[in-house]
């Protein structure tokens, strides 16, 4: 019997996860287009004509975009307990348990913390780019805002730690430990190479962005090993 004549229900070859990824990619196209057009418009208006982004700045922008995107997706998911339940409780095909309100609050908080991290990361190079030359007064205002955001985000991080279960806490603690040992070692080697005039000098901004990307990569690896991707 040909497939067209079969009474069997047609099973889609595209998994729901792949379909969602495809929809997000398509949705990202206009967002990227208009964001790019806005940034180019700013450059045309002379807002960041003198801005020459360093490698660290580019890393910061990339990381900030990733964090804001991940934060918005997480917060968006948390706005629907049914959708969140599908994502985090999706082991049982008979009935997906909707997320509890505590879980929804936890993921909304996680989304907010990610968005704030992205905003803080992008703020310094963005301020330099948009207000070129950046006056000391404006720089102080940006720094004050950053300190306020940092304190707020730290409270958010501590709240997430308190509300996490033991697997999540273990994953965070392992990520922190591995990151510290790895980057402390790398920092020493780079500093020694710099002292011996064998390596170029790094700014603190460059070093911070490299460690931040490394931290995220380590957290994803440890999360994957602990089964968070399952």
């Amino acid at each position: 019997m040909s497939p067209e004549m079969s009474n069997e229900p047609q099973v889609s070859k595209v998994s729901p996860r792949a379909r969602r990824a495809l929809i997000l990619m398509i949705a990202g196209l206009p967002v990227g287009f208009f964001a790019g057009r806005w940034l180019l418009g700013l450059r045309r208006d002379g807002h960041w004509g003198g801005f020459d982004p360093s490698g660290g700045d580019m890393l910061a922008f990339l990381l900030a975009a990733f964090l804001v995107f991940a934060g918005l997706v997480t917060a968006g998911l948390a706005s629907s307990r049914k959708a969140l339940g599908r994502r985090i409780n999706g082991d049982d095909v008979r009935a997906v348990t909707p997320a509890t309100s505590a879980q929804a609050r936890f993921y909304a908080g996680q989304g907010l913390v990610l968005v704030l991290a992205g905003a803080m990361l992008a703020a310094p190079p963005l301020a330099v780019a948009l207000f070129d030359p950046l006056s000391p007064l404006l720089a102080s205002a940006v720094m004050t805002g950053l300190i306020a955001l940092f304190l707020f985000q730290t409270v958010g991080n501590i709240t997430l730690w308190i509300r996490s279960d033991e697997l999540m806490r273990r994953t965070m603690a392992e990520t922190a430990a591995v990151s510290f040992v790895l980057f402390q070692g790398l920092l020493f080697l780079w500093a020694a190479g710099e002292k011996l005039a064998l390596l170029p000098a790094l700014t603190l901004w460059d070093a911070f962005n490299v460690t931040m990307i490394g931290y995220l990569a380590i957290s994803m690896l440890i999360g994957w090993r602990r089964g968070f991707a399952d």
Binding site: G85, I88, N89, D91, D92, R94, A95, V96, T97, T100, Q103, D165, E166, L167, M168, R170, R225, R226, G227, F228, D230
Partner: protein, 64 residues
């Protein structure tokens, strides 16, 4: 460490989310325990033992 969590859960027809709710942990924690990717803390092991009404050593076995 090996454990019989998946079997005990299946006997009661509970999903991972059901068990997670009863133990006040995330579904990911139950999945990590069942797949051997994570060993529970002693307090969680006691909670699991109490929930299934069995001693800890009847649920968790040392592989050594």
């Amino acid at each position: 460490m090996k454990n019989r969590l998946k079997v005990l859960r299946a006997e009661r027809d509970w999903s991972q989310a059901d068990l997670a709710q009863r133990l006040d942990v995330s579904r990911q924690t139950i999945n990590a325990l069942e797949t051997g990717k994570y060993d529970p803390s002693l307090p969680l092991a006691f909670r699991i033992a109490r929930l299934f009404g069995q001693p800890i050593e009847a649920i968790f076995q040392d592989e050594a």
